[in-house]
Symmetry: C2
Subunit: 317 residues, 2 copies
């Protein structure tokens, strides 16, 4: 990667996550090579870009302008031959990823930064067959990557610290909020938290305490709103009054430990999946995926804009 | 309670939660009787109202105007004698609450709606000594009640359905988003979800995967933002693409069950509380509680405003 901000990025895979990266990189003026084995890749990407262009952070973009920054190169070696950054979005299959990284490493310039969107495999797993895996870094986005700011950055035992620093700088340059994990942990941080919450959500709906719609309404109108503005630790630090988190934990710690004992442990049987699937279709409909996704993303952008407005007022005062 | 919207509300207890209700009810033009045993209650409430007035939904209010709607009545029987609605915020002590409800029931008009902010005790517990507990309903707010929209509404086995309906209508009339629980469950819904997430947050910080600040940054920039706009079920329904939640669970269900096995189980030892307390003080400071709380609430209001802006645009289009 050259000293300045990279200008040539290769995106491998054009599924939902790949598409989000493609839209984001193009919107930030990068030249994007799209590598996909889907025969119809160009048509699908250009078509989907129209939807993504509506929900770009900072306001809608011209889809034709975004599409003009893309070049479709179905051959992997050719696609990465001149890349400064590669963002890989292949399926979560260990053998497939290992083979892919062997092929990428053989064809990409030695200075290229090799970023993986994987949500499950640290660099030690996907780059284990490489002689020098020093520039392989996980850059795990949250869906959709063009909207949600977080990127979890994860290095492996042989990753160069410099590569981590470059990944952080690169993601910041396209408006992301990177957080570097200090230790590998299965499924990284955000998905573990999401999984912990979802377990209790499924329990409460299965038990008939609330419907799915009511559960979602509870979350959006309390903890979701709270956690969009302050994280859980800051929230409880403030909840403790002048004594902070220490006071909160001292007063409520026993109740908190007790509450952990009381959390539910649902089983995802076929019957349970059927029940939840049917309830979701009934509650949110089916066949309206694109419209609901656009709505979600417009709302998410509105929240981001509102919060950055408050931040900049604060800095000026 | 009379047929129209209540105009006379008695708030019992003027701690943090009571104060939030007082501010909210006054801002909605209700006549508020404040019943508190603190000798300095009037001075404290009027002083704190200044802070709350800054962060009222819809914009700052004149604290003197809010204060003008309050009357301080230290004697409980007198305070509830003419109430249409009572919102009780006494400490979470079962015996204390039971005695309190005996005294309230003896002095309040028979038609008064008796609402409790308790976060732990369903009506069957706090009203068990009453001959007729039919009008006792839990209305559990999220802190601070003048900002966070959710109120969890919980009835008991002897609660009148009409009282639940009146509680819902009353909370809606002051801008809240009530959700009625269909079954009692310990700690209700939102706090159980919060507790599930916090358990994993503490685990990850204790294990050194991320610092407290990094953990909070992960949440605010991914799942917090997401859950402010769509609840977890809608989020995964959209995450499943055209196949919805059913497809998502069918593809990722096994991984999800596996992830539940991998969640952490921290113990809240004294040492752990010390560690987290010190980290919170270092990260967020101490002695700046009021300023950080105002900042949190301005941000939360900005998010609420942004989302209601999007909703009304959508309805017009």
């Amino acid at each position: 990667m050259s000293a300045g901000r990279p200008t040539r990025v290769t995106v491998i895979g054009a599924g939902t996550i790949g598409l989000g990266w493609i839209a984001l990189f193009a919107a930030h003026g990068l030249d994007v090579i799209v590598n996909s084995r889907r025969p119809e890749a160009e048509r699908i990407v250009v078509d989907q870009l129209r939807l993504f262009a509506e929900t770009m952070p900072g306001g809608p973009r011209d889809p034709a302008e975004l599409a003009a920054r893309l070049r479709f190169v179905p051959d992997l070696a050719t696609a990465v031959a001149d890349a400064e950054v590669v963002q890989e979005n292949a399926p979560e299959d260990r053998d497939l990823k290992r083979d892919l990284y062997l092929a990428i490493a053989a064809a990409a310039p030695p200075g290229a930064l090799l970023l993986s969107s994987t949500s499950t495999m640290p660099p030690d797993e996907i780059a284990s067959d490489l002689d020098d895996p020093g520039r392989v870094v996980v850059g795990h986005p949250f869906n959709p990557p063009h909207v949600i700011p977080l990127v979890e950055v994860v290095g492996g035992t042989r990753t160069q610290p410099q590569a981590i620093a470059e990944a952080v700088a690169f993601y910041r340059s396209v408006g992301k909020v990177p957080v570097v994990l200090r230790k590998p942990v299965p499924r990284f941080v955000a998905n573990r938290l999401q999984s912990a919450l979802l377990q209790e959500c499924i329990h409460l709906v299965r038990e008939g305490v609330v419907t799915m719609e009511e559960l979602d309404r509870v979350v959006t109108h309390s903890i979701g709103l709270r956690w969009a503005t302050v994280g859980p630790f800051e929230a409880f630090h403030l909840g403790g009054g002048a004594g902070g988190l220490r006071r909160w934990l001292t007063h409520l710690g026993r109740g908190l430990e007790q509450s952990w004992q009381e959390l539910g442990h649902p089983r995802l049987t076929e019957e349970c999946i059927d029940f939840l699937g049917a309830e979701a279709d009934r509650t949110y409909g089916s066949g309206n995926h694109d419209r609901l996704s656009v709505e979600r993303d417009l709302k998410q952008n509105a929240v981001i804009d509102a919060l950055s407005g408050i931040e900049s007022q604060r800095r000026q005062s």
